[in-house]
Symmetry: C2
Amino acid sequence: MSQSRPKRTVLCVSDHTGVTAEAMAHSLIARFDGIEAHYVTRPFVDDTAKVEALVKEIDEIAAAGLAPIVFSTIIDPELWRRLQRANGLVLDLFEIFIDTLTAEFGVQPSATVGRYHGIGNTTTYQVRLDAVDYALITDDGLGLEHYRDAEVIVIGPSRVGKTPTCLYLAMQYGIRAANFPLTPESLDDHHLPQALQAHTDRLFGLTINPVRLFQIRQKRKPDSSYASLERCGQEVEMAERMYRTNRIQTLDTTALSIEEITATIIENAHLERHLD
Amino acid sequence: MSQSRPKRTVLCVSDHTGVTAEAMAHSLIARFDGIEAHYVTRPFVDDTAKVEALVKEIDEIAAAGLAPIVFSTIIDPELWRRLQRANGLVLDLFEIFIDTLTAEFGVQPSATVGRYHGIGNTTTYQVRLDAVDYALITDDGLGLEHYRDAEVIVIGPSRVGKTPTCLYLAMQYGIRAANFPLTPESLDDHHLPQALQAHTDRLFGLTINPVRLFQIRQKRKPDSSYASLERCGQEVEMAERMYRTNRIQTLDTTALSIEEITATIIENAHLERHLD
C-alpha cells in the first residue's frame, strides 16, 4: 500500500455521467509523478442545490487540508459560475474547445448534454450491446457456430487476458470479439485446433511472460499443477510456437493494460471501431 | 440510416491508447446538433514517421472535402509541432491544463505517458480485473455463494440491462456487482426470491417500459411467448410490485445508456468507485 503521504482530492464533476471528466482527470494527473490523488466523481450535478452542496463540500475539504483540484464538464453557465467560487483549482474541461468548435462549425452548441454517453445514437449504442452479448456467448471457446460473425478471435493460454479484452472491445467499440482457450491438449501437436482452422484470417494470439502467468494463476488456484511455473512455461512456449508455425499475429500482454491490449489489437488486426 | 449529408472526419490522436481523446471528442462534438462526424482513432502515434504519415492522411482528407477536426493528446512537443502543420483544426486537449496543473503542483510534468490507462497502478488495475471475473461468475443468478462479496446485486427481468451494467461497473470502476434474474416463477407470490433474502441491503432493482422490453425481446426471440407484449407487461408489473413491497431501490432503464445506469446506481446505492 502507499505511504501516508497526504492525497490530493481530485473531483470529477459533471451534469451527466462524469465519464469524460474522469478520463481527463486521470490522464492529466498521471503526468505528475509523486502526486497522489484521491479521485471522487460527482455526476448529475444539474441544479443549483446540487452545485451549492458541492461547493460546500469542496470548501470543507480545503479547510481541512489541501484545496481540491476540480475538473468540470458542467455545461450550464450559471452552475459553472457558482462552482468556480469553490475553494479549489476549478477547471472547465469543455469551454475553450467549445468556443473554438463553435467558430469552426459556425453553429451554436446546444445547451443540453449531447448524445455520446446517452442512447441518442441508438444504432451505435445497440451495436455495443449486441457486441457484449456476442462476447459472452463466444467466451472461452463457447458458441463456435457464431465464429462466422466474429471480427476477431482472440486466442491464448488460460489467464492471458482474453475475456476482459473481448469484453472491452465490445463495450467500448462495438467490436464482435470471440475468444478461444489454448489448452495443453489442444496444443501438443503444434497444429491449429480444429475449431479455428476455418478462421485463420481473424485469429489474434496473446502471450505473456511465464513468471507473470504463474503469479496470476497462483492467485487463482494456489499450488495446483495448473498454476505451476513449469506448466505455465510449457503452455506459453507451445502457444508461441503454434503462433509462429501458423503465422498468427501475436501480442505480449505482460506489461499491458486491457485498454492497451485492445488498442493494439484494433491497430494490428485493422479492425474498425464502431463509434459513428 | 442517416442521410447522405457529408460527415466531418474527427480524428482522435494519441501517443497512447486514445481512450481519453475519444471521450473528449465525442462529448464535445455531441454538443453540436446537426454535425455528423466520422470518428477515427490513431493510437500509439509516438514517432516522427507516424506523425508525418498522419499529417499526410489529414491533408488528403482535407483536399478531398472538409478539413478534419483533430483532437490530440500527444505529449512530445516536437511531434505536436509537426501535427499542428496538418490541414485541419488541430486541438491539443492536454496542454492548457498541464500548464495550469504545473503551476499548482509546483512540479514539472513527466515527458512520458502516465499510469492511467497503463498498469502502473497495479493494485487498482487488479481490482478492476478481479471485478470482471466476479461479474462473470455471478452473472444471471450464478454463483450465489459469492453474494457475500457483492457490493451491489442488480436484479430485474430478463433483458432489462443487468449484465452489461454489472460488467461496466466492474471494468470501469472495479465494483463487484452480481446480477440475478427475476423470472415469472420467482415473482408470482410477490416475495423476494429466497436467494436474495439475506442480501436486502445491497439489492438494486431495474425496470423498463414494457413496450421497450417487448422490442428488445422480439429482436432476440421473435414471436416467442417470452417476447410477447403481455408477458413483458406482466413481468415488469410483478417486478415493480416486488420492489415496492420490499422497499428496493429502483431505476427505469428505458431511456438510459449503460454509463447512465451505472452512474445512477453508484450514486443511489452509495457505492465507491475504486479508482485510486
